[in-house]
Every structure is written in structure tokens, then in C-alpha cells.
């Protein structure tokens, strides 16, 4: 069961310590008899930027899809406070709509529509707003999806390897933009990635997922302020089973 509670309806509103952004209890989910999550718990406090690291196919994306309501859990509850935004790995723009219309697709009322220009400027696409997706580079397209997500001012942003489809330079560029944009909004964010540097750069808390026999095993090998970034990097890599220099 997924309970999406309205942010405005919670005591004290956004930022109140009363209710976390996400509370997952006893999540069980598998595919074809193969368990991905078994009795999995996770609490993400508001304002946290949680980075989940792990190898491909370990269940990271499945977790995001469960939180977004795209997959139904077999057991357990997922409580999400407020509006959820999802940035997928590939841009997934509607090819028949211009950049501006793609953003407009997500807008539900006049207030959100009035924000379109603002979010396009925020992601640096003002000049490209009348372009069709086929005319955009990968980086621009991913910026457009980011704008489409932001137009609703989500309380929780789910980022499913949002930079994975980009070349190295664009990735660095968009990573910096993403960090600023997420930091500027007071949204909670959950980032799924297999890139340690990306996780350190964007996250304030780190989870490492490992695929185990009975389902995902999550560990938290290092706190955000565990020391110098190098130390943090080493610990995360070690937890991922990578022997680093």
C-alpha cells in the first residue's frame, strides 16, 4: 500500500520534523519469484538528499518505482509526504511537444503554468523552448525533463541515474546544475547512481545496495561528514566491493 499524504495537510507544514518525506516499512517486492526487497525499511527525513549506490540490477530503480507508485509492492507500506517528481535515466520527453509544451504537460493549474518560464530559465533552456525533442542534445533533453519535474515544485524528487545517458563533459555540467537546483529548492531528493563521485557531489547521506540471496542488503558505510571527501570515496568504494587505489 502506498499512502501519499498531502504536504499541506501535515502539522507544521514542510520542514516540520513530525513526518519524514518517505517512510518505507516492511517492503517486499520481487519479480518472477526472485525477491528484490524482503521486509525492507527506509526512512528519509525531509530535506535530506539521499544517494543510493549499487551495481546495475541490484534493485535501486525498483525502489524508486515503488516510491513513485509505478510498481505495486507485494507487502509493506510506503508513505510519501507531498508531491513526487521523477527524473528518469533517459529524457523521455513527449516527442510531439516542444520543450515548453513538455513542461506545460506537467502543469495542472494557472500557478504551475505561470512557473514554466521560470523553470526553463533555471535549467538554461529559455532559448530552446520552442524546439522539438528531436532537435535537442542529450544534455538539453535531460534539462527539459528536469524542468518538467520542477514545474510542480515537488516535495520529493526521485532521480534515477539522471546523468547516465550523457557524455562525460555534459555529465559534469549537468551535475553542477543539478546540485544547485536541488539545493535551492527545499525538496527532499533520492538519487540512484552507480557513480561514487556523483553520489558524493549530490548527496548528504549514502546508502550502498548489494544484491543478496533474500533481497537487497543496504548498508550505510559512511556519514556525510565522515571526513575528507577522499576518505568518504574510499569507504563507499570499499562498500561497493571496488578495490581502489
Amino acid at each position: 500500500m502506498i499512502a501519499h499524504t498531502d504536504a499541506a495537510g501535515t502539522a507544521g507544514g514542510r520542514g516540520a520534523p513530525a513526518e519524514p518525506a518517505v517512510r518505507i516499512t516492511g517492503l517486499t517486492k520481487g519479480f518472477g519469484g526472485q525477491p528484490v526487497f524482503t521486509d525492507f525499511d527506509l526512512t528519509v527525513p525531509r530535506g535530506e538528499r539521499l544517494a543510493i549506490l549499487g551495481a546495475s540490477g541490484c534493485g535501486k530503480s525498483t525502489l524508486l518505482r515503488c516510491i513513485a507508485g509505478l510498481e505495486a509492492p507485494q507487502a509493506g507500506t510506503i508513505a510519501v509526504a507531498g508531491e513526487v517528481g521523477f527524473v528518469f535515466q533517459e529524457p523521455r520527453l513527449f516527442p510531439w511537444l516542444t520543450v515548453e509544451k513538455n513542461v506545460d504537460f506537467a502543469a495542472r493549474d494557472a500557478v504551475e503554468r505561470s512557473r514554466i518560464g521560470e523553470v526553463l530559465a533555471l535549467v538554461g533552456l529559455t532559448a530552446a523552448r520552442t524546439k522539438l525533442p528531436k532537435e535537442l542534445s542529450g544534455g538539453m533533453a535531460q534539462r527539459a525533463t528536469l524542468a518538467r519535474t520542477l514545474v510542480r515544485k515537488p516535495d520529493l524528487i526521485l532521480l534515477d541515474e539522471p546523468l547516465a545517458a550523457l557524455d562525460a563533459l555534459r555529465r559534469l555540467e549537468l551535475r553542477a546544475a543539478l546540485r544547485e537546483i536541488v539545493a535551492a529548492s527545499d525538496a527532499t531528493a533520492i538519487l540512484v547512481t552507480h557513480d561514487v563521485d556523483e553520489a558524493i557531489d549530490l548527496g548528504t547521506r549514502y546508502l550502498v545496495f548489494e544484491r543478496a540471496e533474500g533481497g537487497v542488503r543496504a548498508s550505510e558505510p559512511a556519514a556525510h561528514n565522515a571526513g575528507a571527501p577522499e576518505t568518504l570515496r574510499k569507504r563507499l568504494l570499499a562498500a561497493l566491493g571496488v578495490k581502489s587505489a
Binding site: 513513485a68 509505478l70 521523477f86 528518469f88 523521455r92 513527449f94 510531439w96 504537460f105 528531436k134
Partner: protein, 247 residues
């Protein structure tokens, strides 16, 4: 470039008839066909017959389009509708077009309704099949985006499925229009007092190959023009597709 082959064909046609190798009662000469065309145009018979045919195709195609878009969208978006309706429609589709003729004649007589119905049957299936499969094959990833944004049900169909399936729909409509012209001939050969098909039968009865050829050439012209028109519409409406442009 496009005109090289037709030009060669006309020249061969001219040579064969002028040399006497082909007799006029077998195949009229280009001059005779042109003269007959002029005569039919002058007497007004050409426009009456051409207009009648175009009108039938237009009505039949329009009826087919409305029905096929409705049913195609329903079958494409609903598994239940697909299981209820699609097998029956596929069975109906398997029936050769002319097999419907006796039944249609019994039900609807030999009037305009019968002809338009036959044309609509012919045009319906390509449109229906393309739209239903177009919707079925819409990228699941785009549907996920819409679901995350809370767009479901009729809004999902209207805002995502139909626009995404539009290229397929237009291809189906183009084939459907070609089919409409094919079925028009079948309809008009049966019993008609006007139309291009009527010119064909009349030409046959009075052994006038020039009249027959005028009708045949007009069929070719109308078919080609409607195909080109549909391609224009396609290019304009689905300019967003990231594929090679349709030739």
C-alpha cells in the same frame, strides 16, 4: 524524373495504335482518348460522373475514419475491449470485399447508401488496424512519465496515446483512402447510373475503349492525387517524428 516512365508508356501506346498493330476496338489511341475526354468534359458528363465518384469516396472514407478511430482507440487502450471486439473484427476483415455485395444489396438496395457502405467497409480496416496497433506499441516509458504525473484513463488516451499513435493512424488513413477507391469500382460496377465505374460499364457495353480508358486514367489520377494529399498531411502533422521523411 517522375514523368519519364509515363512519357515512355504514352509514346509506346501511340506507336502501337498508330501503326495499326492494335485495333481501336481493342485499345483506343491516345488521340481518341483525349478527344473522348474533351467531349465528356464539354457535355458535362465527365464532371457529373467524376463528382459522383469523389462524393462516394469522401462519404465512405469519412464514415470509415470516424468508426475506425473510435473502435481503434477503444481496442488500443482497453484490454477488455480488445478481447471483446477485436477477434470479431479480424474475422470480418478476412472476408473478401466482394462477398459483402449480395448482402449489402439485399439490405440497402442499389442506392447510394449501399455504395458508401461498401466503400466504408474497405477503408475501415487499414485505419482501425493501424491505430489499434499504434496505440498498443506506444513506448511504455512515456506512459510511465504520464502515470508519475497522475495522468490516467481518458486523459492518458487523449494526451499521450493518441498523439503518439498519430503517425500510425495517418499511415492507416492513407492506405484506407486507397482502399476506398478500390471499393468504389466494385460498388459502381454493380449498378450505377453515374460515376467513373459507370463510365467503365457503359464503355464496355457500347464497345468504346476510349471511354473505358478515360475512366481508367481518371481512376489513376484520383488515386494518385489522394495519396499525395495524404502524404502532405502526414508530413505536416507528424513533423516531430525522428525518422527519415516519407518519400
Amino acid at each position: 524524373m517522375t514523368l519519364i516512365l509515363p512519357g515512355l508508356l504514352v509514346m509506346t501506346w501511340f506507336a502501337l495504335t498508330a501503326s495499326g498493330a492494335v485495333k481501336p476496338y481493342q485499345f483506343a489511341s491516345p488521340q481518341a482518348v483525349w478527344a473522348e475526354f474533351g467531349q465528356l468534359a464539354a457535355s458535362g458528363a465527365l464532371w457529373v460522373n467524376l463528382g459522383a465518384s469523389i462524393e462516394r469516396v469522401a462519404f465512405g472514407f469519412a464514415a470509415a475514419l470516424v468508426l475506425a478511430v473510435g473502435l481503434g482507440a477503444l481496442v488500443g487502450t482497453s484490454r477488455l475491449a480488445e478481447r471483446l471486439i477485436d477477434p470479431t473484427l479480424q474475422a470480418v476483415r478476412a472476408v473478401p470485399s466482394l462477398a459483402w455485395v449480395p448482402l449489402i444489396l439485399l439490405w440497402l438496395g442499389i442506392g447510394e447508401t449501399a455504395k458508401i457502405t461498401l466503400i466504408a467497409i474497405g477503408a475501415f480496416f487499414p485505419i482501425y488496424v493501424s491505430l489499434a496497433s499504434g496505440i498498443r506499441n506506444v513506448d511504455r516509458k512515456l506512459i510511465d512519465v504520464a502515470r508519475v504525473l497522475g495522468v490516467r484513463g481518458p486523459a492518458l488516451a487523449l494526451r499521450v496515446l493518441v498523439p503518439a499513435a498519430l503517425p500510425q493512424l495517418l499511415i492507416g488513413a492513407r492506405i484506407g483512402l486507397t482502399q476506398a477507391w478500390l471499393f468504389l469500382v466494385a460498388a459502381e460496377l454493380l449498378a450505377s447510373t453515374k460515376g467513373l465505374g459507370f463510365l467503365l460499364t457503359e464503355g464496355q457495353q457500347i464497345s468504346r475503349t476510349d471511354e473505358i480508358l478515360v475512366a481508367v486514367l481518371l481512376f489513376a489520377l484520383c488515386g494518385k492525387l489522394s495519396e499525395t494529399g495524404m502524404r502532405r498531411i502526414e508530413r505536416r502533422l507528424v513533423a516531430w517524428t525522428d525518422t527519415l521523411p516519407a518519400s
